[in-house]
């Protein structure tokens, strides 16, 4: 509309201005307007970035395609949990990397949790020395970047352990060298399946027995030793069966031949360094989380429980730990996510995880930076979301049920 000289025109402009200022002065409308502007700006930003990337890739003549995943990878990988050789595809190399990442993340989570809980409890110990040792450990470890821990452990393994020719013999079963820990490899015989079946049956039995025992306890107050019966069913029975069936496993011992040990299995220094460093580092954080969780349960709870005549062990199990867990689990989840993501530092010591395979060598040999990075990011996102999902589920399970 032109800013005409007619009276009609000028009133119309004033009224429009009024509408706008009215809208702006209204709290609710303003918030909607601001949100719309923010959203549009956000979309515009991403559209700009994506357009820019596509435009520039096109400008240098590089298309966007995932076809390279089916080409032979042409490189070798030392640690592979599934069959792989240099003729396998990049896809297969990625799968090897995924398994290696999951292996170190899983092993790291288990060890970090165990160490973290021990350290957290030690940190609360009334014994001055124990307390201070845990304190110094935690403060040192969590204040030094994890990359340095990884390099340190790897350096120690490579430079202070002997070469294969003068390997440290661990009871004729394992050989510790700077190329890793060589161990006998189990080769199963058919009868082993019976033992495995028994083990699985033990687990199923334990789950059913546990819920049954709980039901009985709720109804009659009778308490069964669930833990020991479960241990018997899951561990002792299969072990007994294993020996009764005459140890149905052949062990292929590693043998020093030429440059290296042949046969058997090997845990490489790269894995050990990454696993230990990640676990030690994260354990320090978990220890603080555990300490906070235990301290969050007020002492009155323990005293009340004792006053009711509940023994110390049961007080811990039924009163303190369930309440502490509610505080511990949410931050613990983010530590698990940290381990998984930090495992990408593997690249510093040449552990072949997804960052080193599909996000490293494949990326470099094919020149598909964008595609490879998208894959790697999507994979880490997937792992993290899965861990989050599991931990959220667990968190819900242990939540305080209010009546």
């Amino acid at each position: 509309m032109s800013s005409g000289t007619s009276v009609e025109g000028s009133t119309s402009i004033t009224s429009q201005r009024n509408i706008f200022s009215r809208l702006w002065n209204d709290k609710e409308t303003r918030s909607v307007i601001v949100q719309i502007i923010a959203l549009v700006a956000l979309f515009a930003f991403f559209a700009f970035m994506i357009r820019n990337a596509v435009y520039n890739l096109e400008a240098i003549g590089k298309g966007f395609s995932f076809d390279f995943l089916w080409q032979p990878a042409n490189y070798d990988i030392n640690q592979r949990l599934i069959s792989y050789d240099s003729r396998s595809s990049h896809m297969r190399a990625m799968q090897v990397g995924i398994l290696n990442t999951l292996l170190v993340a899983f092993a790291g989570i288990v060890l970090a949790t165990v160490l973290g809980f021990i350290l957290g409890v030690l940190r609360l110990s009334k014994n001055w020395l124990t307390n201070k040792i845990a304190y110094v450990y935690i403060e040192y470890v969590r204040n030094v970047p994890v990359l340095l821990h990884i390099l340190l452990v790897h350096g120690i393994m490579v430079h202070s352990l002997p070469k294969p020719k003068s390997a440290i013999n661990v009871g004729d079963a394992g050989f510790l060298t700077n190329r890793g820990l060589f161990m006998p490899k189990p080769i199963p015989e058919p009868l082993l399946w019976a033992v495995i079946a028994l083990f699985v049956a033990g687990i199923i039995f334990a789950i059913i027995f546990r819920s049954w025992a709980k039901k009985v306890q709720n109804e009659t107050g009778k308490i069964y030793p669930v833990f020991w019966i479960s241990v018997f069913a899951i561990i002792i029975l299969p072990v007994l069966a294993y020996f009764l069936l005459g140890s149905p496993v052949n062990w292929e011992a590693p043998e020093l031949k030429g440059f290296n040990f042949r046969g058997g299995m090997v845990i490489r220094p790269e894995f050990i360094a990454l696993w230990l460093a990640l676990s030690f580092y994260t354990a320090a954080f978990i220890a603080e989380i555990v300490r906070a969780g235990i301290l969050a349960v007020s002492h009155g709870q323990t005293e009340a429980s004792m006053a009711l005549g509940i023994p110390r062990g049961r007080t811990l199990k039924l009163v303190v730990i369930p309440q502490a867990l509610r505080v511990i689990v949410p931050p613990l989840s983010s530590q698990y996510l940290n381990i998984t993501k930090n495992s990408s530092l593997a690249i510093a010591i040449g552990y072949m995880d997804i960052t080193a395979t599909i996000g490293g060598i494949s990326l470099n040999q094919t020149g598909r930076e964008m595609e490879c990075m998208i894959i790697v990011m999507a994979l880490y996102l997937l792992f993290s979301l899965l861990i989050s999902m599991f931990m959220n589920w667990y968190n819900k399970r242990i939540k305080l049920v209010e009546r």
């Binding site: 706008f20 240098i60 990988i77 440059f259 290296n260 060598i361 930076e369």
Partner: protein, 340 residues
């Protein structure tokens, strides 16, 4: 009104895709007054900072020669150290103008990674280094060995191919940089270190006891090492190409760092030298420079032979012979296209 304002803003944002990959690199470099040269993180003799922090080596000298030709000063170089993995991304993203980084020319790098390779400045091949005390004399005896290998290199692929075709097993120990390879090799994590033979010689020269290690006779690949630029800027590629050719031609024509200034003063009897020195013809303007471009490059770093001898020649700690890298007249395969 509100709506049209917002869509106008969104449109403005979308149309602001200002990045232009086709911009003339020469203009950028001149405007910046400095050449961004992509080099390695440190391979003695090729590109490594010395004890005073000054970069030196063959690749470094080629960077300086280009800077001298374009900017008139061989010191106006900003060295961008890269690993085997980051080098092409750094070049393709525009962070570097030109790359001289022990880089093997291959078809996929040329066509798929969108690089334009400059003439070869070092003919190399992949070799193996091993400790003498292991008593190995041939790569065929390496069955079961642990081998340190830089990731993201052609050597990684050659290694897999060589051991596969010869039916030998090995454990690859991937490392990121030459320094890391050295630590792992000397620490005994791997029995063998493999890379380009020149790189092995350079690495060995930096050992405390170089004589304890031998380089096995097998050379398992062709590694023509050369500089590279991005696809799409032919003028810039021509500058790189002809600076390299000029340095090689200078040796063939007997123009040295010391004699270049004198020879460039006036035209002499030899038209080839005259064209190189810019006293005849108008070759500089063909590539967007003045006619003294080659003269300045030679004055800055010397001819190919001088560069070779100063950095990796028989009198240096690295001690490489010219071999394939001698002029074609002397039994090598260095053969610069003529400037005419």
């Amino acid at each position: 009104m509100n709506k049209s304002f917002l869509s106008a803003a969104a449109f403005a944002a979308l149309s602001m895709t200002a990045v232009n990959a086709q911009a003339a690199t020469l203009d950028d470099v001149k405007a910046r007054g400095e050449l961004n040269c992509v080099v390695s993180t440190g391979i003695a003799g090729f590109a490594a900072p010395d004890d005073k922090g000054v970069w030196a080596g063959i690749d470094v000298d080629f960077c300086r020669a280009v800077a001298a030709a374009v900017l008139g000063d061989g010191e106006k170089v900003n060295f961008v150290p890269t690993t085997g993995k980051t080098r092409f991304t750094v070049l393709n993203s525009g962070e570097g103008d030109i790359l001289f980084r022990n880089t093997t020319e291959t078809m996929s790098r040329d066509a798929d990674l969108k690089l334009t390779f400059l003439p070869v400045n070092y003919y190399d091949g992949q070799g193996f280094m091993i400790s003498k005390e292991l008593g190995v004399n041939s790569a065929k005896d390496l069955d079961g060995a642990s081998i340190c290998i830089q990731t993201g290199t052609t050597t990684e692929l050659n290694l897999a191919d060589y051991f596969r075709t010869n039916g030998i097993s090995y454990e690859p120990v991937p490392v990121e940089t030459n320094a890391e390879a050295q630590t792992n090799y000397l620490g005994g994590r791997c029995d063998v270190f493999t890379t380009d033979a020149s790189g092995l010689a350079s690495t060995r020269a930096s050992f405390e006891k170089p004589d304890d290690h031998i380089i096995l006779p097998e050379i398992i690949s062709k590694e023509p090492l050369g500089g590279a630029v991005r696809h799409g800027d032919d003028q810039w590629a021509d500058i790189g190409k002809w600076v390299v050719n000029a340095l090689i031609a200078a040796e063939e024509l007997g123009v040295t760092q010391g004699s270049a200034a004198e020879m460039g003063k006036a035209a002499g009897d030899n038209p080839s030298i005259n064209r190189l020195m810019g006293t005849e013809g108008d070759f500089g303007s063909m590539i967007g420079l003045d006619n003294q471009w080659a003269l300045r490059a030679i004055e800055a770093v010397g001819n190919y032979g001088e560069i070779f001898d100063r950095n990796i020649g028989p009198d240096t700690a690295i001690g490489l012979e010219r071999g394939l890298n001698a002029q074609w007249k002397d039994g090598g395969i260095l053969y610069a296209a003529p400037i005419r």
